[in-house]
Symmetry: C2
Subunit: 190 residues, 2 copies
DNA sequence: GTCTATATTCCGATAGAC
DNA sequence: GTCTATCGGAATATAGAC
């Protein structure tokens, strides 16, 4: 049945995303996904030929989501600080789930991944950094934001605070992430 | 032979450290280490009962290194900025080797690790953050450094910049890390 | 004490059933 | 088109040789 197929595929993506962000790419198996869905591991292979195909699909989904966000932000009249919030919020949700972002997760396993994945993740990274950079520039021009580095460097500083923030929070606690998040926002307002 | 034993054990630690920081904890096997040293994988099991024992030994070694650094810094008259450099330099070396720090690596695989490792890594994290925090406080009091957050939060901001900086550099290039490093130092001087 | 040969479990993946 | 039974190989780990 077509509906069944689509559902299973979506479910695999959902579980796969969770596993990558919770356990790490090299720490879970197709059998783990299958167990969660009460199917056999080979059924996962049907929907995604190999593990790296699943990873590529997940990175693609992220790219699409950010493309969608990009359009949303371009046609929006919200403050640039609110726009930046759209990049920060996902990290707060991740922290709450004791998970890390897909970019950070892939960065850790980067040297074990095939070129096809590396190329896709580069696209995603440049896209996100570019969007944050643009939002920062816009905010500075409008006088809504303040920072002293180049917009690119400022974007790097903010995103590394968030990415490593959720990683650290798994070890030292969520309060540390919360303080990082507040500080990031506070600095831009000053 | 005793000398032989010690050498092999040290070699295993050396390779293990490299693999964890380059490939990630769940991405290499004892067989990989054995191949590198031209021995059998079971020989690695002799020196370190299981993979987690090797990881614990590596975390312990890091703790000892930072304890040693702590004593060195306490009895030193170097500027607080130079002291901070002692925490930053290792990250620049990691970046050059396209590797990530052991804390970041473990943070990614954190949810797959036994409690014994989690406890040890917590110790290491609190130790490093505490040392950076203390150095920052000292620098502010002496008027050598400037920052507007609490020393703890400032330490968090700096260390997350560095940790995620080397991760990101594997994907987007070393120049991004270099800009992060410069900005971190520049801000403290202002 | 140091290491090798071997066992066992689990991995990702294919061929074929429904 | 969708999924199951099964394979070859690699993972961690033990038991025993030197």
């Amino acid at each position: 049945m077509c509906a069944r197929n689509t559902d299973t595929k979506e479910e695999i993506l959902r579980i796969g995303k969770h596993f990558i962000q919770y356990y790490g790419y090299n720490a879970f198996s197709y059998a783990d996904i299958a167990r969660e869905l009460n199917i056999k591991n080979a059924a996962v292979h049907y929907h995604f030929r190999g593990k790296e195909d699943l990873l590529i699909a997940l990175v693609d989904k992220n790219i699409e989501n950010y493309q969608s966000l990009s359009k949303q932000l371009n046609h929006s009249k919200m403050s640039t600080l609110s726009k930046l919030g759209k990049f920060i919020e996902p990290y707060s949700i991740l922290c709450e789930a004791e998970s890390i972002c897909i970019i950070g997760s892939i960065a850790s396993d980067y040297k074990t991944l095939p070129e096809s994945v590396k190329a896709k993740i580069s696209l995603l990274v440049e896209m996100v950094l570019g969007m944050v950079e643009q939002t920062l520039s816009e905010g500075k021009k409008k006088g809504e934001l303040q920072f002293f580095e180049s917009a690119r460097t400022q974007a790097l500083l903010i995103m590394t605070n968030l990415a490593a923030g959720v990683q650290l929070a798994r070890i030292s606690g969520k309060k540390d992430y919360e303080n990082i998040r507040k500080a990031v926002i506070r600095r831009l307002k000053k």
